[in-house]
C-alpha cells in the first residue's frame, strides 16, 4: 500500500492526492459463498454491514441480480458495491439499447468486472470488494470470482473473505457434481453456520440466491439454528475450582 507520510513542502499536495483514493473500507460486508448445483448456481450471503467493530446495518442486501442471467454478490465496502451496481446498470442498459435479441451473460459480466477492478487497482484507487458472480445462460452454468486487485477465476465453488479459510475446506471435501437443490442449500447452510460461529462480523440473518435457466430468485432472509449446549461449556472450571 502506498504510504503517504511526507512532511516536506509537497505535504499539502500529497494530502490532496490521498483524498482522491480509497485507503480503507468503512462499512463492510463479510463473506459470500457460491456453488454450482444441478440446475444452476446457489449463492449465500448474510445481511450484515459492519462499521468497524460495530454491527451497524442488519438488512443489507449484498446480492443483486444483474441483467437476465446473472447475480452479483459482494463482500467488502458496501458503498463500492453500490457503485459497481450503477456501473452494471449502465452496462445492461446499453446492452438493451442494441435491441439485438442478445443479452449479456455471466461470462461477459465477469470479464467486465475484472477489467473494472484491475484498472482501478492500477490507479491505486481500488473498489474495495471481493465479488462473486454466478449465472446460467443457454444451459451453461458459470460461477466466478473477482478480488479487490483484479484476480479472477472460475470454479465450481467460490468464497470471499473468511469464507476462503472456513468454507472452502468444507466445499473442497463435500462438493459434488450435480447436487440437487436441497443438497446444495444444505451444504451452503453448513458453511454459513461455521462462519456464523467463527467469523466475528457474521450475523444470523442470511439469504440464499438461486440462478437457473429460468432466472434469478433471492430467498427472503432467515436464521440458522445454533447449538451451544456442549457439556464442556457448562462448567469449565469443574476440575479445579477457582481457575478458568
Amino acid at each position: 500500500m502506498h504510504s503517504s507520510s511526507s512532511v516536506d513542502k509537497k505535504g499539502s499536495e500529497i494530502f490532496e492526492m490521498d483524498s482522491q483514493r480509497t485507503l480503507y473500507p468503512y462499512v463492510t460486508g463479510t463473506s459470500v459463498i457460491g456453488i454450482k448445483y444441478k440446475d444452476g448456481i446457489l449463492i449465500a450471503a448474510d445481511m450484515g454491514g459492519s462499521y468497524g467493530s460495530t454491527l451497524r446495518y442488519k438488512s443489507v442486501e449484498r446480492m443483486k441480480p444483474v441483467g437476465k442471467h446473472s447475480l452479483l454478490g459482494a463482500s467488502g465496502e458496501i458503498s463500492d458495491f453500490q457503485e459497481i451496481l450503477r456501473y452494471l446498470d449502465e452496462l445492461i442498459l446499453y446492452d438493451n439499447m442494441w435491441d439485438d435479441g442478445n443479452s449479456l451473460g455471466p461470462k461477459e459480466v465477469h470479464n467486465y468486472l475484472n477489467r473494472l477492478m484491475y484498472n482501478r487497482r492500477n490507479k491505486f484507487n481500488p473498489l474495495w470488494n471481493s465479488l462473486v458472480l454466478g449465472g446460467v445462460k443457454n444451459g451453461q452454468k458459470y460461477l466466478g470470482m473477482v478480488s479487490i486487485i483484479g484476480i479472477h477465476f472460475e470454479d465450481n465453488h467460490v468464497a470471499t473473505g473468511f469464507g476462503n479459510h472456513l468454507a472452502r475446506p468444507i466445499l473442497r471435501d463435500e462438493w459434488r457434481e450435480d447436487m440437487s437443490y436441497e443438497e446444495g442449500v444444505k451444504l451452503l447452510e453448513k458453511c454459513m453456520l461455521v462462519l456464523l460461529y467463527r467469523d466475528r462480523s457474521a450475523i444470523n440473518k442470511l439469504q440464499i440466491a438461486k440462478i437457473t435457466e429460468d432466472g434469478v430468485s433471492i430467498s427472503p432472509s432467515y436464521a440458522l439454528k445454533t447449538f451451544w449446549k456442549f457439556s464442556a461449556f457448562q462448567n469449565p472450571a469443574k476440575g479445579a475450582e477457582g481457575s478458568w
Binding site: H165, L166, I170, F230, G239, S243
Partner: protein, 250 residues
C-alpha cells in the same frame, strides 16, 4: 546496517501447523500434522508435534518449534518431580497452570500455542493455551495456521459422545483439511488417544502424501557409464616405522 544491504535475518524454525484436540466419550484425542517450516522451506517433513507431558497427559505445540519443545519438556520434568512428591497421578490442570504461568511471565515472547489434553482422576480435559498465557477449556480445539480449516471440519461434524473410532476419524479429517488447505501444514497425521489408564500414541497414523514417482528399477551406476579422462595412481606407503621397545626411555 546489514539489513540496509538487504541481508535477511534468519527466520525461525516454526511449526506452521495444524493441531487439534477433541473430547470423546472415554477421553481425549489429540491430532497434529508433521511439517516444520523455516520461512518458505519445509525443513522437517516428519517432525513430532505431540509432546509427552505425563503418562496420562500429552500436549500438541504450534509456533516456534524450540519454544514448544522447551516449554513442554520443562513442564514435563516439573510434573514428574511433583508426582514423586505427591505420590499421585498428574492432573491436567496442574500442567495447565504451570504452562500458563510460565508463558504469561514471558509476556508472549515465548511463542508457543498449545493444545493440552489428558485424562486424570477428575475426568477428561482439553485446554488451549495461547502464547500470552490465556487458556480456554473446550470440547474441541484447533491451533496453528491451519486452525481455521480444521475448525471448519470440527464445527460442522462434532457432536458429544463420539466413540473412539468416530473421534479418530474426525481428528484425521480435521488434520487432513489443514494439510491440504493450509500451506504451512503438510505431510502426515499423528494421533494420540488418551483414555483412563491407557494412552496410545499413533505416530504417522495416516500418510496421505506418499512419494508418487519412485523409480521401481532403482538407480545403478555401472562401470563404464562415466567417461574417464585421466588416471593417476598413488600407492599408499607407510610413513612411520614403529620399532619394538623404542619408546621414550625413562
Amino acid at each position: 546496517m546489514l539489513l540496509q544491504k538487504g541481508v535477511q535475518p534468519p527466520s525461525f524454525r516454526k511449526t506452521g501447523t495444524t493441531i487439534v484436540g477433541l473430547v470423546f466419550q472415554d477421553g481425549v484425542i489429540l491430532g497434529a500434522d508433521t511439517r516444520a517450516t523455516e520461512g518458505p522451506i519445509v525443513c522437517d517433513k516428519n517432525c513430532e508435534k505431540i509432546h509427552y507431558m505425563a503418562p496420562n497427559i500429552y500436549c500438541c505445540g504450534a509456533g516456534t518449534a524450540a519454544d514448544t519443545e522447551a516449554v513442554t519438556d520443562m513442564v514435563s520434568s516439573q510434573l514428574q518431580l511433583h508426582r514423586y512428591a505427591t505420590g499421585r497421578e498428574s492432573r491436567v490442570v496442574t500442567a495447565l497452570t504451570l504452562l500458563k504461568s510460565h508463558l504469561f511471565s514471558y509476556q508472549g515472547h515465548v511463542s508457543a500455542a498449545l493444545v493440552l489434553g489428558g485424562v486424570d482422576i477428575t475426568g477428561p480435559h482439553l485446554h488451549t493455551i495461547y502464547p500470552h498465557g490465556s487458556t480456554d477449556t473446550l470440547p474441541f480445539a484447533t491451533m496453528g495456521s491451519g486452525s481455521l480449516a480444521a475448525m471448519a471440519m470440527f464445527e460442522s461434524k462434532y457432536r458429544e459422545g463420539l466413540t473412539r473410532d468416530e473421534g479418530i476419524k474426525l481428528v484425521c479429517e480435521a488434520i487432513c483439511s489443514g494439510i491440504f488447505n493450509d500451506l504451512g501444514s503438510g505431510s502426515n497425521v499423528d494421533v494420540c488417544v488418551i483414555t483412563k489408564g491407557r494412552t496410545e500414541y499413533l505416530r504417522n497414523h495416516q500418510l496421505p502424501n506418499p512419494r508418487t514417482y519412485v523409480s521401481s528399477k532403482g538407480y545403478s551406476f555401472a562401470k563404464g557409464q562415466t567417461e574417464v579422462l585421466s588416471t593417476k595412481t598413488t600407492p599408499l606407503k607407510e610413513k612411520v616405522e614403529v620399532i619394538e621397545g623404542d619408546a621414550m626411555e625413562e
